[in-house]
Structure formats: C-alpha cells, structure tokens
C-alpha cells in the first residue's frame, strides 16, 4: 500500500493541504516540514485515524474525538474533510471523506413515506443496538432479551424491574420496526452514490462521516479493512493526541504537582493502544520481542549445528545488529541457570551492566523503532507515519535514521514529520514536502 496523495481543504490548523508522495521515488521516505503549529502532527493523526479506524466499529470513538468541534456552515449540507489517493498492488484507490449534516440525508432519494424530520444521523447513533439489530431477526432478538432478563433477575444488585425491562424492549422493537426500513433506505441510496456512512456523532449538530470511493470493484468495507492493517503511526508519548477524549487530553495540562495527572494521560494512551493496533509511542520497548528474537536465532543456529555439524551464524549476526543500535554498548542475553533467556542486558565499555530502562532517550528510541519495524509489524507494503522522528537524536543519528528505517522495514513507505534539515539531506529536495502556514484570520 502506498499513500500517493492527501488533500485536506480545511481542518484545524490545516488549510488547502495537497501533498503528493511520488510512488516512483526512491527511497520511499518523505519528510514533511512546517513551522511550529503548521499542522504536521494534526495531519499525521488525521490520516492515521481516518485510515486505521474507519473499518472498525470499536475504533469509531477515536474518529469522533478527532472530529470534536468540527462544524458545517448553515448554508451547506456537506464539506470535504480529506481526500486520499492510494496504490494497492499497482491499483489506484480513491477515498473521499466527507462530513455531512442531516440536510444531506434529507436530499437523498428516500421513500416519501418516511417523515423527513425523522431522517437524521441521530438515528444511526440512537442506539448501537438499533443498527446491530438490523442484521438479526425478531426471534433472535427476543431470545437475546430473555437471556439478558434472566441475567438481570439473578443479579441482586440490579435496580431495574422486570416490567421496566419489558417495556423498554417493546419500545425498542417498535422503534426498530419504524427505523429498520428507513436505515436500509438511507444506506441503499448512499451505496447507489458509491458512498458509505462510516460513523455519526454529535458536535454542536448531528453529523455523519461519509466515505466516497472509486477505483476499485471491491466492497468498501473490504478496502477500508485492508488499508487499516497497512497504516501505522508512531510519535512521542508526550504529544497531544487529538483522537483521545476531551477529558483525557486535558489530563496533560493539569497540575504536574499531582503525579496522578500525567500518569492518567499515559494510561489513556496505553488504553487506546488496545484497539489502535498500529500505534506506537517511542518510549515503549518490547523486551519480550527482543528475547524471543535472540531465542529463535539461538535455536536456529543449534539446528544448523545438528543438521550440518557447523555452527550457524544467525545469533552473532543478530547480536552485531543490536550492538550497532547503541552508541558503545554490547548486548548480552540474560540467562537463568537452565540457560533460558529471561531478558537482555547491555554492557558499557567499562563492563557495567545496563538494563534497557537505563539507556539514553535516543538509544531507547532507536531500539524501540528497530524492534517495532523489524520484528513486530509485518514486512509488507506499509505506510508508516512518524512524528518528531529526530527528537532525542544528535545530528549524526538524524542523518542515519533514514538509512536505518529503510534497512529495518525495506518495503515500507515512511512519512516523517520533522524539523531536521540534517535528516532531509539524506534525501533529495524533491522528497521533502511542506505544509504552508494557514493565513491568520483577520
């Protein structure tokens, strides 16, 4: 998968952004520059959230958080949020994400038997249940209800009465009876226009995020699902993540005197990673992965020894590669008394043992990127977005990181938000992209 072009007409700090990442350039590493506040982080997060979350319902809250406070002006029914041009196996895919209000739905070709006032994105959001239930028969739903009911009745803490539950269920079924054909009708008219409703949310008004697609015969869900697997984001953990909820974001700015506050922000980030599978913060270092890498290399060499009578070279090669990641330290596996590998330790030239947590900021970041790119994410045509890549690296490493990235994940495309001139000199001027500052409103 390659991201070939991204356009964002207007979103937060971004205005008339139109960037092309030439798929025939070598290497596929593109620095993106701007002044502070130019919108680099905003752009990377927007790309990531739209492409990683759209296909997955459990990730939709991140989309809603990202779009918090967006509005569509009174006179309009829709406005384009972002356009993407992607390449998958040589085939072009075009996606257009549009924000729409209820007016947009009401302009669709919808059966006049429905009350126009009822046509709203609100009904999509009204209950997840309502949407899910569309796929199920009445009998299935009833069965589900009685299972739930008996569960509630057996729960001594439960406050709800059986009568209340029954009347809720009846109302829901009535609502369903009315909305089911309406929602089907809306969906059908959207599909007829090659459109697909990703999610809906409330931001001063009922809004929906709709995706227009072309260039592929495949089903839109299938396309979005395959894109979501190929898009990655890495950034510092101290960054403001627009896809967290308002409360979570505010934790970052609460008094640092109370350690709980910064802890809470870090906790929210960690929580988000449970569903944002392709998101990495640079401070994470997967010791387990490194241990299993060393273990596999050792076993492979042992197998070579058994098979051929000569020692394999996988283990020394891995160790050599790991040694090159830190400035002057050498890596050793930590063994228990049965020679199981239980961790790694770094030795300084003076012979002092250092644990991963004692490494410098820059060393840890390199190590973490190495493990992530080389060992964790599949070696495939991924799109890897990286924010503030040069932070913590001295000038020499700012330059060599470009070569490292290519080395660690040869088939990836990298889009790097950066302020580093030094990094750019490892590439040609045409590789470097720029976000122009939005003009200051009068």
């Amino acid at each position: 998968m390659r991201l070939v072009r991204v356009q964002v007409p207007e979103f937060r700090a971004l205005k008339d952004v139109d960037i092309t990442f030439e798929p025939d350039f070598y290497p596929q590493v593109f620095p993106v520059g701007s002044l502070n506040g130019g919108g680099k982080s905003t752009l990377l997060q927007l790309i990531f959230v739209l492409l990683h979350c759209s296909a997955h319902k459990e990730r939709h809250p991140f989309v809603a958080n990202m779009l918090d406070r967006v509005t569509i002006s009174e006179s309009q029914t829709s406005s384009i949020l972002a356009k993407f041009e992607l390449l998958e196996g040589g085939k072009k895919i075009e996606l257009e994400f549009t924000l729409c209000n209820d007016g947009y739905l009401r302009e669709l070709d919808i059966d006049p038997i429905f009350n126009r006032e009822m046509v709203s994105f609100g009904i999509f959001r009204r209950q997840d249940w309502l949407l899910e239930s569309l796929e199920k028969s009445d009998e299935e739903l009833e069965e589900e209800f009685y299972r739930l009911l008996s569960h509630e009745l057996n729960d001594p803490e439960s406050k709800i009465t059986m009568e209340e539950m029954e009347s809720d269920f009846e109302n829901a079924m009535k609502e369903r009876e009315y909305f089911q054909p309406l929602i089907k009708n809306i969906k059908k008219s959207l599909i007829a226009k090659n459109q697909f409703c990703i999610t809906s949310f409330y931001s001063k008004q009922e809004l929906g995020l709709i995706c227009n697609f072309s260039g592929s015969k495949k089903d839109i869900k299938e396309i979005l699902t395959s894109i979501s697997k190929r898009i990655f984001l890495s950034a510092p953990s101290t960054q403001i993540y627009l896809f967290l909820s308002k409360n979570e974001k505010q934790q970052l700015f609460k008094s640092k005197a109370d350690p709980k506050n910064s802890y809470l922000y870090q906790y929210s980030i960690e929580q988000s990673k449970n569903s944002l599978r392709n998101f990495l913060t640079y401070d994470v270092f997967a010791t387990d992965t490194l241990v299993s890498l060393i273990e596999t290399a050792r076993n492979q060499d042992f197998k070579t020894l058994v098979d051929t009578g000569t020692n394999g070279i996988t283990y020394p090669k891995i160790i050599e590669e790991l040694n090159a990641l830190t400035r002057d330290k050498t890596v050793f596996p930590l063994l228990d008394d049965k020679a199981n590998i239980i961790g790694v330790v770094f030795k300084t030239p003076e012979g002092t043992d250092i644990y991963p947590e004692d490494l410098s900021h820059g060393e840890l970041k390199r190590l973490s990127l190495y493990v992530w790119l080389k060992l964790i994410i599949p070696q495939d045509e991924n799109i890897v977005l990286m924010d503030e890549i040069e932070n913590g690296f001295h000038l020499d490493w700012q330059y060599t990181i470009v070569r490292d990235l290519i080395e660690w994940g040869k088939t990836n495309q990298y889009i790097l938000a950066t302020h580093s001139y030094e990094l750019c000199t490892a590439l040609t001027p045409a590789h470097v992209k720029e976000i122009e500052l939005k003009p200051i409103a009068k």
């Binding site: 020499d396 302020h419 750019c424 590439l427 040609t428 001027p429 470097v432 992209k433």
Partner: protein, 308 residues
Amino acid sequence: MSLSPTELHLHCQEIIKLSQRKKGIIILCEGNINEIKGRVERYRRLEIFPDANFYKACIPIWWTEKRPTFVPCGDRKDVIDTYFSLVDAANNSDIPSGIDKNKFFAIIDLDLQPHAFSNYVVTDTEALYSLYYQNGKFQPIGINQHSIFITGLIYKEAYFLVPDLQPLFDHHFTVFYNDQPLNLDGLYQIMAQALSDDNNLCTHFPRACGRLNHLATLDFTNVATLQESWLQTFLSANEPEKSQLIYALLTIHQVKDYWKAFTPKDTIPEARFKEQLTLAIGGFYSRQPLDSEHHLPCFFKTLSTHTL
C-alpha cells in the same frame, strides 16, 4: 565563475562558524554554494541535489560518530582558495579564536587541466594525483601533511559509472542509455570509440598518458593509437586487466556526457531520477567493507584515522 574576495571571505566566516558547531572534520568540496544550515523548507526549495550530499551519502556506515561534514564551495579553484583562506585565517588570528585548521580538508576533481598550488607541499593537482594514486590504486599516505584530496578518476561523475554498479542499474533503478537498458561493458566500448573526438583529451594528451603508463598494452603514440589499442586489449582482456582498462578510461575521458544521457524507464522526471540514482550510488559506496579498493571508501578510511 569564481568567488570574489568578499564572497570568499563571507563563505569562510560561515564555515568557521560551522566548524565550531560541528564535532567532526569539515571537508570542502565542489558544488553550488547553498546554505550550510537551514530549515526543512529551504532544503525543499533547492533546485538541484547538492554535490555535497552525494559525498555525504558515501560516508561509510561504520563511521558512526563525529561523521564528517561536507561543504560545497563552488568550482575547483574556489575549493582550493577557500581551503587556503581558512588555513590563513587560523594562522593569522591573534586571539585564540578556536579556529582549528586541522579540522579542514578538501576534495577536488582531478580533471585534465592542472591547477598549480602556490604554497603547498606539491606543485600542482597532477603531482597530488601521483601522490595519492599508484597504478590506479589509492595510497593511504599520511594525511597530516596532505589535507587536500583529489579524485582518482577524472571527475566525481566517473564514480557513477564503475563496473560494480551494474547490479544497481539493473535492479533498483532501471537505467536506460540510448533507449536500451544500460550495459556498462558496452558503454565503455562506446566511450573508447569516442576518445579521438575528446578535445580536452587531445589538448592534454601527454598528461593523460602520464596517468596510464602502468598499462603496458596501450599504445601512447597518439590518441588514435591509444583508442585502437584500448579497444583491442579490452576485447581479449581477462578480469583484472579489464577492470584496469575501464578505470584507465575513466581517468582520462570526459565522462559527464554519458552520465547526462542516462534516462529512466519510468515516468519519473529525468532530473529527479538522476538525483535519486546519485543518492543510491552514494549508498553503494557507504556499504563497502573496510578493505574495499574503491577510491571513495579508501579516502574515508584514511580520513577516519585523523584524530582531532
């Protein structure tokens, strides 16, 4: 176009400032003077890929600390002038200004036209060449006396055409020459056939021969006999001899036109293609082992022994 005294002075001031900021050595090289430092957006606006970045891309991967900094200074004369001005500035500054002349090095193109030094340990560029290269091989001479390096091939561009690059031209970049996939062996023969039309070579013929006199099979009577004997020997040569002949050609013949004639197979604009190829060639040299005989890795190996 050479630098005026004022431009030279300003340029040297910039370099001195840079040298105080950077830990490693500073190597002056040919190429358009652009900003030495700057912002990401400024780099983006450069019209062409700076020559200095080619050399930078060649820095061996084993050189991980205090990597050298390349500074473009204009043409060959400008590079030499800048080098001596910097040395002067270091010698003449009365305050202990922190200008360390041991930090400054230069690398220049050999060319066929010699450049005379007025006050250096060798008289001219040709003498410098003989010092650094014997029978086409790089000699690791003491760098404490010689801070000016010279290419062992006629121009930097000749390093874009060496035989070992064929796999790069075949796989990563599909390079075309005369609408055909580039075949270096064939190209060398085309080059040899053009020797008698190379005006520069005809003018400086004795000097060119001086560089090649280790090759007994060549006939140095005149350009035509050289051309003929080169082609004759090349066709029947065995591997080491063949490579010597190729390097001989790249030491005396105008190579830039051939490089200019390389074209991409794809839709990518030619200028973009060339600079990306240049970068990849730099990558090729940077990955050579420590005992490589390629001139540029040898040059870096020698440099790396210099301690500040």
